[in-house]
């Protein structure tokens, strides 16, 4: 643990700037590659098992097909003027110095092939515009560097044309899948969701047993029968949450937090064993078909159970897939109650209750925590909460301020729309990429070190299963405990006062030092 000098505003001056620009280190990350998908993993999600013989032709055909089918991709490949605005915006570049991790250079890996085969200048003057034929070397570069993009969209904020490297990397991954060069981590997981219903491959029986155990834990803690219902027909709310919430720390504490809020409000809610996963890795590999198939599980579960509302748990890209894509892919959801957002984020749900004064908290129960908040990239730059733009920044912070006395934001150029990715998103949360993940986490970790030094921050909250897992793993590298990463609803769960709950402390709600107001 770093030594904490509380409220010493000079303490952070010796720390490196979180966004410090490194010297170029060409090829530094060229060897970083994820494990390839096995033929079985590939076949299970509709792709050839291994590199096909005519891969070059098929890759070029696929590129043409994608460009013809996506205005974004076409405009992005055509419009870049190489101004350099994005060059220092990628966390993997900041952490590694490899110039191919500059967003424009990453795009150029695909753009140079697009130019060679699909543009006049590239066909006739390739040397002039940096166009290049597709070759095995290029394919290898793609495999390496398009698996060094977490699709966090930070670069797209700063591009004068809104060029989104996430779209480019999704396209490149789809091309690679199409010719049989898939990535194990994503493709194996997608197969599990199609077959079993969640990323972990957790069967219905095991899921139910796990939830029963957690119910016991809740009863032990609170003395109340707080339920984690599964497959309850006729429930009002279907909760779809990342399967990590059933098994991993600190995710579970978030799940218990949702359950406490639902219990306190007397909601009729249920999980689904058919749609026991909020994540949608189809997005990471750019596969609309796989994305639709997974989104369809949520729709089917909602229809089969006859629910009126769908709420999503804390997960970043899952919220993007749900918020931005679900209605398009498998809508319309006219069978749900139209008085609520479809889908709704758990933070929207809890935030609205707090606004209405429907929940009571004892903030002092979180007094051992001095907190900051990590805006998860997909929530920040690819979704919204509430009715107004930017609600995705305000809602989580409003909840945290309602349940915690000590809240401090990290440096302004690393939060909200400028947030730096955890380093593990976009289908990179796999052990063989640990070196990349550590390097990618550097800007965020340095930003955290700043608030730790200045305000004595001890914990960081996040609303994304990938962020939580990634931070639990890489935080020790940067001098923090692995449990310094927490779920928002874990803190809600700590502070919430449940009717009839056994208190193991004396603090009555009225005496809570919450009256002291918010800090930071």
């Amino acid at each position: 643990m770093v030594e904490l000098a509380i409220r010493n505003s000079n303490a952070s001056q010796d720390l490196p700037d979180p966004l410090e620009i490194p010297d170029l280190a060409p090829g530094a990350m060229a060897a970083s590659k994820p494990f390839p998908a096995s033929p079985d993993h590939q076949a299970a999600i509709g792709f050839p098992g291994e590199l096909v013989d005519d891969w070059k032709e098929r890759a070029i055909d696929k590129l043409g097909e994608l460009v013809a089918g996506s205005r974004g991709l076409r405009v992005y490949l055509d419009s870049c003027v190489k101004c350099g605005a994005c060059t220092d915006k990628c966390h993997y570049f900041l952490g590694s110095g490899d110039p191919n991790n500059m967003p424009v250079a990453r795009q150029d890996l695909l753009r140079k092939v697009y130019r060679r085969y699909f543009t006049f200048a590239g066909k006739y003057f390739p040397w002039l515009v940096g166009a290049q034929e597709l070759s095995e070397e290029v394919l290898d570069e793609w495999y390496s560097y398009f698996h060094q993009c977490s699709q966090c969209r930070r670069c797209s904020v700063y591009c004068p044309y809104g060029i989104d490297t996430a779209e480019v990397s999704m396209a490149a991954r789809e091309i690679m899948d199409t010719v049989g060069k898939g990535q194990k981590y994503c493709n194996e997981i997608i197969g599990k969701v199609h077959k079993i219903g969640n990323n972990l491959g957790l069967q219905e029986k095991a899921l139910k047993a796990t939830l029963e155990d957690l119910e016991d834990d809740l009863e032990e803690e609170t003395g109340l029968e707080i339920k984690l219902p599964v497959d309850v027909r006729g429930a009002d709310i279907l909760l779809v949450t990342p399967s990590a919430d059933f098994f991993a720390e600190p995710h579970i504490d978030g799940l218990l937090g949702y359950a406490k809020v639902f219990h306190q409000m007397g909601e009729s809610w249920t999980l689904s064993s058919h749609a026991s996963e909020a994540a949608n890795f189809g997005m990471f590999i750019g596969s609309e078909e796989n994305m639709r198939k997974m989104a369809m599980r949520v729709r089917k579960a909602a229809e089969d159970l006859g629910v009126r509302r769908i709420i999503f748990g804390e997960c970043g890209h899952a919220w993007r897939a749900a918020y931005s894509f679900m209605n398009t892919l498998v809508g319309p959801f006219d069978f749900l109650d139209q008085n609520y957002p479809i889908p709704q984020h758990i933070c929207e749900y809890t935030h609205d209750l707090i606004e209405k004064g429907a929940l009571t908290f004892d903030k002092s129960r979180n007094d051992h925590i001095r907190l900051t908040f990590h805006d998860s990239c997909n929530v920040a730059r690819a979704s919204r909460m509430g009715d107004r733009p930017g609600g995705q920044f305000e809602y989580p912070r409003a909840i945290l301020r309602a349940v915690c006395n000590h809240f401090y934001d990290m440096p302004a150029d690393t939060i909200r729309e400028a947030t730096v990715c955890c380093g593990g998103g976009g289908g990179l949360l796999t052990d063989e990429l640990m070196d990349l993940r550590k390097k990618g986490a550097q800007p965020r970790m340095r930003a955290l070190q700043h608030v730790a030094a200045e305000h004595g921050v001890t914990h960081m909250a996040a609303i994304c299963a990938i962020c939580k897992t990634q931070f639990a793993k890489v935080m020790p590298e940067y001098g923090f405990e692995m449990d310094a990463i927490v779920s928002i609803h874990q803190l809600v769960g700590n502070a919430i006062i449940l009717d009839g709950q056994i208190m193991d402390d004396d603090a009555a709600p009225d005496d809570a030092p919450g009256a002291g107001g918010d800090e930071g």
Binding site: I21, D78, L128, V157, P160, N327, T328, Q392
Partner: protein, 247 residues
């Protein structure tokens, strides 16, 4: 002879520019945007998107967030270019509109500012290692081309003046398909020749960023996927698998 060459060159360049650009715009417009992908926080209304786009193309809002130097040089160049182009209206209109007469001096300042902005961008492209790394020969040539156009223009205003009256007659003649002799001043010919090259290169180069920005889904989409079901391309794309998997 020179008159004929330049007349034909400009007919060709203008046709190529208009047709090429038209083709691209048509292509961008008809390519489906399958999903909602605005970079958020994004406006939740159409009006909001119009304002966002207006800020983007007049103030370069995103670039300002990204890098103040690139913004400064880039914005100065583009704004100055607008002044210069407006100033040039006087060579193509008869009688010359009052406000064009009024803004002539501004156009001259614009000429200097334009070249200064371009040189700033070029300097960064050479000096900053990150930008040098991403530069292809065409990126340097493009700057060279526009700097040369600007410099030759300034040269004609301040050093080697040309016969403006005859030049104007030449261009008005082009519009009327009634060719008038073009003054054979070398600087003028270089200036006009490079402008024609720029017009030809426009629709087949990165200058496509000009129409491109308006079609960028990251900037032109309304953030309302929950409120209004977005299904722009489902109807447009008749893939068999789509209908099957859709429900």
């Amino acid at each position: 002879m020179i008159t004929a060459i330049f007349a034909l060159l400009f007919y060709f360049a203008a046709a190529f520019l208009i047709a090429g650009l038209g083709l691209r715009v048509w292509q961008y417009a008809k390519t489906p945007a399958p999903l909602k992908i605005p970079t958020t926080p994004a406006p939740v209304t159409r009006t909001g998107v119009v304002l966002r786009m207006a800020r983007e193309v007049t103030l370069f809002e995103s670039l300002f967030k990204a890098n103040k130097w690139i913004w400064l040089f880039g914005w100065v160049f583009h704004f100055a270019l607008v002044l210069v182009l407006l100033r040039h209206l006087r060579y193509f209109t008869d009688p010359v509109w009052g406000w064009v007469v009024w803004m002539q001096p501004l156009g001259l300042y614009g000429g200097f500012a334009m070249v200064a902005g371009l040189l700033g961008l070029w300097l960064r492209r050479v000096v900053v290692a990150r930008i040098r790394y991403i530069s292809a020969p065409s990126d340097h040539l493009m700057l060279a081309l526009i700097v040369a156009i600007g410099a030759s223009g300034l040269l004609m205003r301040y050093v080697a003046r040309t016969d403006i009256v005859a030049l104007k007659a030449f261009f008005l003649g082009l519009f009327a398909f009634d060719w008038q002799p073009l003054p054979a001043d070398p600087v003028l010919l270089v200036h006009l020749g490079l402008v024609a090259v720029l017009m030809i290169v426009f629709p087949i180069s990165k200058l496509l960023h000009a129409p491109g920005v308006f079609f960028s889904p990251g900037r032109n989409q309304v953030d309302n996927p929950r409120e209004k079901r977005y299904q722009a391309h489902w109807a447009a794309k008749p893939a068999a698998g789509r209908a099957k998997a859709g429900r």
